[in-house]
């Protein structure tokens, strides 16, 4: 029979690296049922009878964050055979805090004392046998980076599963608290399973509402428990939650003092401190941040990125489309099918894939910055600004990633604990111009404002401005009102990440983008091609007589107040829903030029006939804000986990787009035309 091993631990404890080492390539990534938190599962590399489940990175088992609730529900209901608790040895006390809570669930716990090599390098000593004695758990010293202790960890885990039985109960709390918990034991012993008795007792002592609802207790029982808790609260002059956390930490600091020796003195300046002195310096922090971001953009979008883009365009444009098209025609394939394949699917997918190198390089740098520990500092620096409109510094990271692609950006909102904040960030992140919108801006700027360096950059400023204004506005609505989100964040020490893990991180982000090219975009490109090359009577026709054109003519009047009420622009807006970059290709097709890139002189010339400067700018504004592409809408749907919220987000974004573009066109026409 298959056995289940759950991996639990704090964020930054190296849990993910360990999971990767244990499971190798057998991973399966999905979601926890009913929620949007990622669930990773795999088999032990050496023995496929063991299933390994990566639980979310958490600090505690409180009922307040989604990740913590998922973890505790899984432990209580899923009952894995054993929990490997990944403990960051460089941060023993706080990591063991979770351990004490895991032990209460009655599931055997094995402590993986991870990053032990860093502790040793510092000249500090952790006495593993003593820690094992103190916690009643097997302790294995590991380092996911150097693969130290992994074999032993697997052996110890297997042995523990074979041995079976519950873990020893630790009397973590002070005498009076323990007494109260025993009294609660007696009160509920008949209603809960024996292995979970301590878990439920402690949670009921904390007045954990979720647990109160779970356990069917009578009014009298609840009253008895309440009296027990109140007595202890009065004695300690503290809240029940406060008493429990205090007692845990007091217990742990006595353990840590015993097992962790040769500690560095408080106030010693580490390398991390020295870096921080510059990076979060009062005067240098912001300029340095902008300099770093500029560098990242210059490298990923301009220099290196351009080179790769040219190569891919060559591959898809000249080689794939032209050569393949000619060959297919020569062997007698029907022109319609060749058109669908070459002009529809290959051109569509190719257009998206040209962004992959830029995106990957950008994600490489962003992943590197995150793994190094710089992103946490960015949140620290930016929090003040973001709080002004109801968000926290944590919202800044998704928006930064959003400059590449909204899809991974929306996924990155998972680090935001507060549900309200997460929703607002998901709604506003697409306002930051993503890489796919750039070619649209490039085309129109090239056609109308060729000498203006700031017209394209103005999109970033307007995007950021819209995020701020919308944030302030949304905060005033009922759904988002309330106290500012909490910002209690660990600032992990800087460390040089392994190249492999940065690449893995980059790939996790980028693959969504490539997936979209392979699936949605391929299908959508085919559909659009069919729509634009067939008439309602299913004849093969020129674009202006096609189904797509008639749909465009039907909705075009809606865009009249925005200055682009022609069917061609309406069609481009529709195809923009598939992927923003297809807008350029669509202009090429509907203006009768065939497949062209944004820099093509004939396209620039046609487009400059089509718009005037003000309506072009209004079109750019509309593209900037309007409902994002289907992939981003899909990501919104996944992360919001609600159709209603997704619809709200799309309506809000499109509403802002319509309104802003109308203001630009109407006011702009008065001023400049």
């Amino acid at each position: 029979m298959a056995h289940t091993i759950a991996l639990a631990g704090n964020p930054n404890s190296g849990k993910t690296s360990l999971f990767n080492e244990l499971t190798g390539s057998t991973q399966y990534v999905g979601n926890w049922p009913g929620v949007t938190v990622e669930k990773k599962e795999g088999h032990l590399k050496q023995d496929r009878h063991y299933v390994v489940i990566d639980l979310p990175g958490i600090y505690s088992l409180s009922p307040y964050t989604l990740e913590e609730v998922i973890t505790r529900d899984y432990l209580v209901d899923g009952r894995p055979d054993v929990v490997i608790n990944v403990v960051d040895a460089t941060n023993l006390e706080r990591n063991l805090y979770l351990t004490t809570q895991l032990l209460e669930t009655g599931i055997p716990v094995i402590i993986a004392l991870n990053m032990i090599d860093i502790v040793e390098k510092r000249g500090e000593v952790i006495d593993a046998p003593a820690l094992s004695l103190a916690t009643g758990c097997p302790v294995v010293e590991t380092s996911a980076v150097t693969k130290r202790g992994l074999k032993e960890l697997i052996n110890v885990t297997k042995n523990r599963i074979e041995k079976g039985g519950s873990p020893t109960i630790l009397a973590t709390f002070s005498q009076s608290t323990e007494k109260a918990i025993s009294a609660i034991h007696a009160e509920i012993a008949d209603t809960v399973p024996p292995e979970l008795l301590r878990w439920y007792s402690v949670k009921l002592f904390e007045r954990d509402e979720q647990v109160q609802q779970r356990v069917a207790l009578s009014e009298t029982q609840l009253e008895h428990i309440e009296n027990i808790v109140k007595a202890v609260e009065e004695e300690h002059d503290d809240s029940a939650e406060g008493i429990i956390t205090n007692d845990r930490y007091e217990y742990l600091s006595s353990i840590a003092n015993r097992v962790h020796t040769n500690r560095r003195a408080l106030g010693t300046l580490t390398t991390s401190d020295k870096i921080d002195r510059i990076v979060t310096n009062r005067f240098l922090a912001l300029p340095l941040f902008f300099l770093i971001m500029w560098g990242v953009y210059y490298i990923s979008i301009q220099s290196v990125g351009e080179f790769f883009i040219d190569s891919i365009e060559l591959l898809f444009g000249d080689i794939a489309s032209d050569t393949l098209g000619v060959w297919l025609l020569n062997v007698g394939t029907h022109p319609w099918l060749v058109g669908l394949l070459v002009d529809g699917i290959i051109a569509g997918v190719g257009a998206v894939l040209t962004f992959v190198p830029q995106m990957m390089i950008l994600f490489f740098f962003l992943s590197f910055m995150e793994d190094v520990g710089y992103m946490a500092r960015v949140a620290f620096i930016m929090d003040r600004i973001f709080r002004k409109f109801g968000l926290s510094g944590k919202s800044f990271i998704p928006m930064l990633i959003g400059t590449g692609c909204s899809v991974p950006a929306i996924m990155a909102t998972r680090t935001i604990e507060n549900q309200r904040d997460r929703r607002m960030t998901i709604m506003l992140t697409p306002f930051i111009p993503c890489g796919a919108k750039l070619p649209v801006f490039a085309l129109l700027v090239g056609a109308f404002f060729p000498n203006s360096a700031w017209m394209a950059s103005s999109m970033y400023l307007i995007g950021i401005g819209a995020v701020i204004v919308s944030g302030i506005f949304l905060k005033k609505t009922k759904a988002f009102a309330g106290d500012p989100a909490p910002f209690v964040m660990e600032l992990p020490p800087y460390h040089m990440p392994r190249f492999k893990s940065v690449l893995l991180h980059m790939w996790e982000r980028g693959r969504e983008f490539i997936k979209k090219a392979g699936t949605i975009i391929a299908v959508a490109s085919a559909a659009i091609w069919v729509l634009q090359s067939t008439s309602w009577s299913l004849q093969f026709v020129e674009t202006q007589h096609s189904i797509l054109a008639s749909i465009g003519r039907f909705i075009a009047p809606v865009f009249k107040p925005l200055g682009f009420g022609q069917w061609e622009a309406a069609v481009a807006t529709i195809t923009g829903l598939l992927a923003k970059e297809t807008i350029v290709a669509t202009f090429g097709i509907v203006l009768g030029l065939g497949t062209v890139a944004e820099g093509d002189p004939s396209l620039v010339a046609s487009v400059s006939q089509f718009f005037n400067p003000v309506s072009a700018y209004a079109f750019m504004i509309f593209t900037l804000f309007a409902a994002p592409c289907v992939a981003a809408i899909g990501a919104t749907r996944r992360e919001m986990n609600s159709v209603g919220w997704t619809a709200t987000a799309i309506l809000f974004q499109t509403g802002v787009a319509y309104f802003a573009a109308m203001v630009v066109y109407q006011v702009g026409s008065l001023l400049f035309l």
């Binding site: 941060n91 921080d276 003040r384 909490p486």
Partner: protein, 75 residues
């Protein structure tokens, strides 16, 4: 009554009580700021808020507004 908010960067303080309630306070306690522990205020963010402190051997940032609920005695 002094709170963590009043402690100058570069000095430490001993926590006497973590006031307030709800998720934020629970998070603060979960992160190790509990009665009797020593915290060291490292710095204030470039824009004046939040602050960075050392507690239980690691670095944590929290807002001044939340720090104002943590009653301390200076050391």
């Amino acid at each position: 009554m002094i709170t963590l908010k009043d402690i100058q960067p570069g000095s430490s303080a001993k926590v006497r009580k973590v006031g307030g309630e709800g998720p934020t306070m629970r998070r603060i306690m979960d992160m190790g700021i509990t009665k009797g522990c020593t915290v060291f205020v490292r710095k204030v963010a470039p824009l004046g808020d939040p602050i960075e402190i050392s507690v239980r051997g690691y670095e944590l940032s929290l807002r001044k507004g939340d720090a104002a609920h943590i009653i301390v005695e200076s050391q």
